[in-house]
Amino acid sequence: MNTNKYSTISLNRNPSKFLSIFAKNWAAFFLLILIVVFSFTGQRFFHLANFQNIVHLSTIYLLLSSAETFVIITGGIDLSVGFVMGLSSVLSATIMQRLYAANYSPVWSILIGCIITLIVCIIPGFISGVLITKYKVPPFIATLGVGGIANGITLLMCGGFPVAFLPPYLTEIGNGYLIYVLPGKAFSFFNRPEGIFGEEVKDLIRIIPNSFIFIFIILIILWHVLRNTRFGKHNYAIGGNMDASVRAGININKHLMTVYVLAAFLSGVAGVFNVFQTGIGNYTPFSAMYELLAIAGVIIGGASLMGGKGGIIGSVIGVILISVIENGLHLSGVDPFYRFIAVGLVLIIAVVIDQSFPDLL
């Protein structure tokens, strides 16, 4: 049911070369156009601080979309990413809080919180994987169920309230920048320069958020894995033709297990990162629709829900596109609810274009 089964009778086109190139990269073109438009209509849109802000706030979605990219390429789907993220956020915050309250040093509290959480977050992925491979539960249901359970456990842990009183330094790391410059006056790495107060703080130029470095490294690794390793190749193969992959000797079960565990792990990372970013642990309410937005990013980026297509770069473009739309509309003074409409429309365009030029890879 994730696929459109009604496409047996093909659309009959002979696209020109130029049109094909345009269609294949339409998201990137559209992104450029939007940036140009918003630069005029948005207040302070075309500004280093704003662009960095866009990337910074997109980090979570980038992580979730990367997770979904792997899963969707295999022809599956993971509806638990948002909830596992919530679980991870609350769990890590809770551990950090408890340890810190028990007089462990902030560094240890944070570190242990992260490590334990990341290990625990593998479990939902593992369970999804087992259900899907061994018990042949459709991924839609398996991940929905596991996600719901994860959400329930999360709410149990935090009782519906955010987890606060966390060790210090979290937000500094999460929201910090690599380079701080006060032109002509001060220059420092990682932390605000000493001796800058009051008015001068406003003029401080911040370059390269820590989150950017963090996400960049992760994305590069994931991109490399998907593009250049055997694991990545198998991912596409399974999505393209599962039967053929089985006959070629690929261990489907093991591979899919790994993929869903990876997705859960990345969701866990997103949750931990959320704690760094916001300074509190928070559960994922239904209305946040993280998984749907993550999937939207992947689809806009060129993946197909049927599997076999897509990639990290595309997903990144998809996520950034959505973020730019939100940010741009916001800065242009447009009602935030137009965002829902805009994303919905972009998604539809994405798919229609994809269907009209089906043979592009």
Partner: protein
């Protein structure tokens, strides 16, 4: 008439037959356990409360049943419900302001909303049936779009100024008896102090129930229903057999949209207000109900009555947990477990009676 039953001997056969019907059994068990464990659960009032909360999941479940059997999915039902609650509330408020009397405002408002509410379904149908957009994406986009429009209409808050008559209908019951005095329908009569008012069958339940019975019949006994199954089973075969699949798909999603709209109108009547995300929670419940009931997400299999069973499993669970004083997030865990269990059981107890749905 012939019925082919692969007989298994004795006890094993008995259990396999049982396994097939696990949903009903589970529901009965669940209901029984809660009835014993909680005083007041199995009581006249208790059942009424259960029924008065039912329409949303019942209608959304009905919507998803048709859509899922046809091989698709509709993620927009929740927000179409919210959209309808907002639109109906606003329209009625506007009519009242224009001086039209309450009853007519309500009636015209509802009719107008019913018409407007099929538009998202029409769009979904065109996207999915004609433009070959995958159902997941199309309905997800529609979810966002209707959400956005709803919020824009009410500017972030609620839709207000709906006349209380609406609430009277929404919270009323089919049959109202003041013993010894009057019997009235749909709206409670004026009650003096000291008099007892017996309310039977909340309107909130009666309306969806009638709709469900009608459409269960349609799904099972008419050409439309048969074609829905065919498309879900093998869309190629349906096309080759001459079925106009594109039109049919459009109709299915319009139907789904219509049911969601009715749910939204009922919400407005019950709570005398419109809320954009009123239906958010029910989307998941609806899909889970359909799956628990035994439909296949791949299409072609399922029935309205099976979905009904699934709906009540969730409703009873919710009410039971609430009366137990258990926080609602346990519901998520339990529902998640039941969902997975439902799918696994289908594998361990393959259909013995192979009649088609």
């Amino acid at each position: 008439m012939e019925k082919m039953i692969i007989e298994k001997n004795g006890i094993r056969g008995f259990f396999m037959q049982l396994g097939n019907k696990w949903a009903i059994i589970f529901l009965l068990l669940e209901f029984t356990i809660f009835s014993f464990a909680i005083p007041g659960f199995f009581s006249f009032n208790g059942i009424q409360v259960l029924l008065i909360n039912s329409p949303f999941i019942l209608l959304l479940g009905l919507a998803e049943t048709f859509v899922i059997i046809s091989g698709g999915i509709d993620l927009s039902v929740g927000f179409i419900m919210g959209f309808a609650s907002v639109v109906s509330a606003k329209l009625i408020a506007v009519f009242v302001e224009l001086g039209i009397n309450d009853l007519f405002s309500i009636i015209i408002g509802i009719i107008a909303t019913l018409i407007i509410g099929t538009i998202p379904g029409l769009v979904n149908g065109i996207l999915i049936g004609r433009l070959k957009v995958p159902a997941f994406i199309a309905t997800f986009s529609m979810l966002g779009i209707t959400h956005g429009i709803s919020e824009l209409l009410i500017e972030g808050s609620y839709a207000k100024n709906v006349p209380p008559l609406a609430g009277a209908i929404g919270n009323g019951s089919l049959i109202n008896i003041v013993p010894g005095k009057t019997v009235s329908f749909f709206i409670s009569p004026a009650v003096q102090r000291g008099e007892q008012l017996i309310e039977i069958l909340p309107n909130m339940f009666v309306i969806p129930f009638i709709i469900i019975v009608v459409f269960a019949f349609i799904l099972k006994r008419t050409k439309f229903g048969k074609h829905t199954y065919a498309i879900g089973g093998n869309v190629d075969a349906a096309i080759k057999a001459g079925i106009n699949v594109k039109n049919h798909i459009t109709k299915i999603y319009m139907l789904s949209s219509l049911f969601s709209t009715i749910a939204g109108i009922l919400y407005m009547l019950r709570f005398v207000t419109g809320k954009a995300d009123a239906g958010l929670v029910f989307l998941l419940d609806a899909i889970v109900a359909v799956v628990i009931g035994g439909a296949s997400l791949y299409g072609g299999i399922g029935t309205v009555w099976k979905t009904l069973t699934g709906c009540f499993i969730i409703l009873v669970l919710e009410m039971g947990l609430r009366m137990f004083g258990v926080p609602t997030f346990y519901k998520l865990i339990v529902v998640g477990i039941i969902l997975i269990f439902a799918v696994l059981i289908d594998q361990f107890f393959p259909e013995l009676i192979h009649k088609e749905d």
